[in-house]
Symmetry: none
């Protein structure tokens, strides 16, 4: 190996980027895995790293040399040594960031991370397993799933649409592009999955009402239990998200969206 070994984590990263431009398949897998989980290097064996990268240990070995190390051990030493002092645990780091970096983007990040975490925690506490089951059941039986979610809910709706697509679940995203709302596409046997939050958008509510009137099942992803969607007989999954300023961290909502998607997807194919 021509190059000499990186002496710091920074050098390591630079070398990793520099090298990973053109790399054969297996070695690329190594590069990707390492990039994604550098922190595992210090505490893993080659075998474990190789498994993580879905590669033979010998391949991972070769990868270490390309980076300039004599072998895995030498590379690992770099990470073990610089581990010194250890990573402060989450709570201290958070506090530190908040105090020290007041007003800076990093401080904001600390706040939002914290908000997101508590939201997720709450989600687990507030979701009723029975209702979740019902929702999955209903969606799994649908001929076709119609998804609606506008404005702030649109990211969630589009995520669900993407996931369904990937899992071959017939679904249609009603985005309202061009002011068209293809109400007619909704047919008996279909199910409507509506996502909406606090200033509940009229289109969404209208769509739920229409679907309810025609006797279709409706699954609603919304905040609080007093959401207007409830009165139309929808299966209502409520997520209470911690607000920070005017901005809603969608962590919990998106988490629930993924769960719904995956659960429905597997139930259908199983």
């Amino acid at each position: 190996m021509e190059e000499k070994a990186p002496a710091t984590i920074k050098e390591f990263e630079e070398r990793l980027i520099e090298v990973s431009e053109d790399l054969p398949k297996r070695l690329r897998q190594c590069a990707d895995y390492v990039a994604a989980s550098k922190d595992r290097i210090a505490v893993s064996t080659v075998a474990e790293m190789a498994e993580g990268a879905r590669v033979q240990p010998s391949a991972f070995m070769r990868f270490c040399r390309i980076l300039g190390f004599s072998g895995f051990s030498e590379m690992q030493r770099l990470f073990r040594d610089s581990y010194a002092g250890g990573w402060p645990d989450y709570s201290t780091r958070l506090k530190h960031l908040r105090e020290k970096a007041e007003g800076s983007p990093s401080a904001l990040l600390a706040e939002f991370v914290d908000v997101g975490r508590t939201s997720l925690e709450n989600l687990l506490k507030t979701i009723d397993p029975k209702v979740l089951d019902d929702a999955v059941e209903a969606l799994a039986k649908a001929e076709m799933i119609h998804i609606i979610g506008l404005r702030r809910s649109f990211p969630v709706a589009s995520y669900i649409a993407y996931a369904f697509e990937k899992m071959n679940v017939p679904a249609m995203l009603h985005s309202g592009v061009g002011g068209l709302d293809n109400h007619n596409a909704i047919r008996p046997g279909d199910v409507l999955l509506a996502v909406t939050f606090s200033p509940y958008s009229a289109e969404t509510v209208g769509m739920v009402e229409a679907a309810g009137a025609r006797g279709l099942s409706v699954v609603a992803l919304t905040d609080t239990i007093v959401s207007p969607l409830r009165k139309f007989g929808a299966i209502t999954l409520s997520v209470s998200e911690v607000d920070f300023g005017a901005f809603r961290s969608l962590s919990a909502t998106l988490c629930l969206a993924i769960v719904l998607s995956v659960a429905v997807g597997t139930k259908r194919s199983g």
Copy 2:
């Protein structure tokens, strides 16, 4: 061995305190050293730990057993697994859940909540405040912000677009609806904000390349540091998120997106 091994760091600490009351000299040294540098356990050999405690390896060995472990290896495993909040192998755990279908939706939910929480925690650790500042700075100075993010990244892109809109930041979401890609809308003084993940979509990469070639600033929200966007000189914010197959828990990514939006929004109006 009367007692059985501690299963968590907390249990470990309790046991350590409980035991260290009356201990022969050498073993006391072990206890003291371990108490002072628990974090070294994960990345050291018995020999190193023994040396640190000024004790023979065999003595340290005995110490491990007194704590209830079968040996040093078992004790080390505890620390290695829980290291850095430990990214246990979520992808395989989730795959099992999915395959066995034994996972009720609630079980899935619990997993994803956990995944989301660690992702967020990790985000806080890996984001470089300097780079975040640079990104905010660049975006705040832009005449107009062009946002691109397709497929799995689309929810994130659309969320950012929504937030900018709400904060009166001039921004344009390039969604590629109808196969149109309004390259010509991008003008000098504008900034491109690109969001893309692992199977990096060609359109996004192309757009970044074009913008870079014209000398425009580019901010990239991507995974791992080896993302192809890096080579075009983009300010790269990398988020490592657990994903398997089509499913990426976007918690961390969205969190970062909100932070960016809010920081840019306030900087502009301030």
